[in-house]
């Protein structure tokens, strides 16, 4: 079951004219406000800019939000930023969902405002539906052994081993042959300066 007392905030971004130029963002905002458990629906010119992010944080406090949907661009570009944003307002970063109404909608649906708006509304609806099933997640922390294994003692393995060792890490360099050096050691001279290889 989804969490009780869900309080979802939806933040619809104009992205200047990138979204608002093809999509009626105000209509999307109004539609978002009607979706189940949405208690705040806000429209911004640029949600990723500082004022936009502050608005999200303010709304989280003001409306006691516990899920946030940002309807703007691709999560591959801005999810990390908005996760930090809601974390700054005390929410677990995994309670964020993004609705991609730019790359997947406004930019690929030119000249048909009605269809683009209809699609944007749907994308927001799907994101809000998913937000119902988001839970706080704790990232597990695991210990790291401060040592590295370098497999292969050619010029690449040698350089990697030396760099790591110089940086203070323990390095095991494993080479199959009786000596390190690899193909590099067999070269007489190397280009472009025609110097010795070893």
């Amino acid at each position: 079951m989804p969490t009780e007392n869900l309080r979802i905030g939806v933040f619809v971004c104009d992205c200047g004219s990138n979204i608002a130029g093809a999509v009626d963002t105000e209509a999307v905002r109004e539609y978002a406000a009607t979706l189940p458990n949405v208690v705040a629906a806000v429209r911004n010119k640029y949600t990723c800019a500082d004022p936009g992010q502050q608005e999200i944080q303010r709304a989280i406090y003001e409306h006691n939000l516990n899920r946030v949907v940002v309807a703007s661009c691709s999560p591959t570009s801005y999810e990390a930023i908005f996760r930090k944003c809601i974390e700054g307002a005390g929410l677990n970063p995994y309670l964020l969902e993004m609705a991609n109404i730019r790359e997947h909608c406004s930019w690929v649906t030119p000249g048909d405002r009605e269809a683009a708006t209809r699609k944007a509304k749907d994308i927001v609806k799907v994101a809000v539906a998913r937000a119902h099933w988001l839970y706080p997640q704790d990232e597990e922390e695991i210990p790291v052994t401060d040592a590295a294994l370098v497999i292969g003692g050619g010029v690449a393995g040698i350089q990697a081993a030396l760099d790591l060792a110089d940086a203070g890490h323990k390095v095991y360099l494993v080479e199959k042959k009786p000596s390190i050096g690899g193909i590099m050691a067999q070269l007489d001279k190397v280009y472009p300066d025609i110097e010795c290889s070893i």
């Binding site: 649906t109 210990p143 790291v144 052994t145 294994l149 193909i183 050691a185 070269l187 007489d188």
Partner: protein
């Protein structure tokens, strides 16, 4: 090289092989076999007294067989560690009565025939794979006469012939008579850039042009009267200082002729080599005679990389070289967390590129090692102990070996090793695996939200995070317009798409369902999308058995760069949607309301490399071909990946 031997932080294990790697990022357990060297490498002073008395003479592999060494030997004078080694297979002294001369000759008593292999267990947080490359063997290219004619040599053999550390101590001579060759020819692209697998590899080996230009210039520097001719198809001198070196060699009289010789003949008296070549710049047939001919051989992945690749679960590119996590943004990372690649194991590289990449890999590894703790993104799999039926299917399909399971035991996920692809959750028939942050309930809620209004106009689309979702992003960034009917559900991998999701969407009235992911070579979870294809075969079969049109389910691979391909995929999916009628969807709902999902018919292991029939679900094309689990299926007619496998009835 010397610095490695002396560095207090480096434990150098030569004549050693990695036998096993287990564990996960930050906590790898590695088994290394240090083979018996029979010489105490710490005590040996490399005086050479042992080799002086050794009666066994064998070809020296370091000199490419152009020189000889003894059974007790040092690989080359500057070897690190600076110590001799006994090759036990060649040595007579395994039976000390037979020989044992070296033992007597060694004043420091370093030679010990009782030496045995040692197994070392080490623990590390990060692994750098730098297993390098191998030189292509041109013996199969009979027309060049390599191995038949002594004066046809490879570029690496040429290095040894001209090297002061080589068998001729820097006085270049040709193999047949050790006389200095006055006319030297080079043939480029030997074993590279060919579409014929019998003649080499399709890729450019990157280093051979510059290596030849260097060799030609070095020859001119040392023996200015040498006539040098280079036969090439394209000269690729694109690096810093490279074009300048090419120009320098040209101004010194090195001749470059565009055209590769078709055949090489040897004059049996002079042992000179004659070639006929079509000079494609001058558009004429030419004959040339050389005293020595050098084959600029290409590079191929080192054979020894393969077992290492399997131990640490890395992918390989079609060329056989190791695949990086992302060609542009993560070029030294691998899909396995904590494992990095350096040097020519990733692709053919020269010294400078190898060093650059090695420093990058070291830096990436250091970022990890500098942390005492490592945070794993909370998208990993979790097993519900009460629902797990202990069948072990999840462990079988996990590309990362992150699921521990034994018979009659509940599966256990090692979350540090889990990359979050979700193919285990899609495989589990008992709903016992939940993906954190990408739960089944969330997916069902998304399907509901897509289809509860106006379902006839929607295409339920699953897109993987790394490639197809990003490909759709690229289409957007490039403003490639397409019909507005697709509704995307993002999963980390197409392997996350449980067949139940697809059945559910059809049950809810979806006219068309599209599953999309990375091309086989790009799969960000090693090979998880092979499971996607297998499940799609099962679904197509199931749809047909249920009396429904299997072609309402589409499968497409699309890389992050293929915006135009995404546009086509969308347009074609929309055409498919328009072919579905309201009555058909109503019928589907009626059928699926009561249907027990039939058991899927997928290709089995015994179908591997067997003839099969293929049917394109996009355009209807049918053809026969061979099935292999690792072969990406593409319709030869419309380039769709919605290609259904059908067993040929015998």
């Amino acid at each position: 090289m010397m610095d490695v031997g002396r560095h207090p932080n480096i434990e150098l294990l030569t004549y050693a092989e990695v036998e096993d790697v287990s564990g996960y990022v930050g906590n790898f357990k590695v088994k290394v076999r240090k083979k018996a060297r029979y010489v105490n490498e710490n005590e040996c002073t490399a005086c050479g007294d042992c080799a002086a008395v050794c009666p066994i003479v064998v070809p020296d592999e370091f000199q490419m067989g152009l020189g000889t060494r003894k059974a007790v030997y040092i690989p080359f004078p500057q070897a690190v560690p600076s110590a001799y080694i006994v090759n036990a297979n060649e040595c007579l002294g395994q039976n000390p009565i037979a020989c044992g001369k070296c033992i007597e000759a060694c004043e420091k008593r370093c030679i010990d025939f009782d030496d045995r292999d040692r197994l070392l267990n080490i623990e590390v947080g990060a692994i750098i794979v730098a297993t390098g490359m191998e030189v292509y063997d041109p013996a199969v290219l009979d027309e060049y006469g390599y191995t038949r004619y002594p004066n046809v040599v490879t570029s690496l053999e040429f290095e040894r012939l001209i090297s002061t550390g080589g068998p001729l101590e820097g006085h270049l001579g040709r193999p047949s008579d050790l006389q200095r060759p006055r006319r030297v020819g080079f043939i480029q692209c030997v074993g590279s850039r060919t579409q014929d697998p019998a003649r080499g590899n399709p890729y450019c080996s990157n280093i051979c042009c510059m290596n030849t230009i260097k060799a030609a210039q070095y020859l001119k520097d040392n023996y200015p009267d040498t006539e040098i001719t280079v036969f090439y198809m394209d000269l690729r001198a694109f690096g810093k200082g490279f074009e300048e070196l090419l120009m320098r060699s040209k101004s010194n009289g090195v001749r470059y002729i565009r055209g590769l010789p078709g055949e090489v003949w040897e004059d049996p008296v002079t042992r000179n080599l004659r070639v006929t070549v079509e000079n494609t710049t001058a558009n004429r047939l030419e004959n040339h005679e050389f005293e020595m001919l050098v084959l600029a051989v290409g590079m191929r992945p080192a054979t020894d990389t393969e077992p290492i690749r399997q131990m640490v679960s890395l992918s390989k590119a079609p060329s056989g070289f190791l695949k990086e996590a992302h060609a542009k943004l993560r070029p030294v990372d691998t899909p396995t967390k904590g494992v990095f690649i350096a040097g020519a194991a990733e692709s053919p590289k020269d010294v400078r590129e190898s060093v650059t990449q090695a420093s990058a890999a070291a830096s990436r590894a250091a970022i990890l090692l500098n942390k005492s703790r490592f945070a794993v993104e909370a998208i990993t799999a979790v097993v519900d102990k009460d629902l797990c039926k202990m069948c072990g299917r999840c462990a079988e399909v996990c590309p990362f070996g992150a699921i521990q399971w034994e018979k009659k035991q509940v599966a256990r996920v090692v979350s540090a090793a889990c990359a979050g692809c979700g193919t285990c959750a899609a495989e589990c028939r008992f709903g016992a695996i939940e993906m954190r942050h990408f739960s089944d309930q969330a997916v069902y809620a998304q399907i509901d939200a897509i289809l509860d209004e106006d379902p006839m106009h929607k295409i339920v689309t699953f897109a993987c995070n790394w490639c197809s979702y990003a490909g759709a992003d690229t289409a957007g960034v490039s403003r490639m317009a397409y019909p507005p009917n697709a509704r995307i559900i993002r999963t980390m991998c197409s392997g996350r798409v449980n067949p139940e999701f697809v059945w559910y969407a059809f049950k809810k009235g979806a006219p068309v369902v599209l599953v999309s992911g990375c091309h086989y070579v790009d799969c960000h979870y090693i090979d998880a999308n092979r499971s996607t294809t297998r499940r799609m075969d099962g679904l197509w079969d199931g749809l047909e058995k249920a009396g429904l049109r299997p072609d309402r389910l589409l499968l497409e691979w699309c890389s992050a760069a293929e915006g135009a391909r995404w546009q086509t995929i969308m347009k074609e999916a929309e055409k498919k949607r328009q072919s579905v009628t309201v009555e058909e969807v109503e019928q589907t709902r009626a059928v699926l309301a009561t249907l027990q999902v039939p058991s899927p018919r997928n290709p089995r292991e015994s179908d591997e490399n067997q003839e099969a029939e293929f049917a394109c679900m996009r355009c209807g094309n049918r053809w026969t071909g061979y099935y292999s689990v690792n072969l990406e299926r593409t319709c030869p007619q419309c380039r769709s990946n919605s290609v259904r496998w059908l067993r040929v009835k015998k």
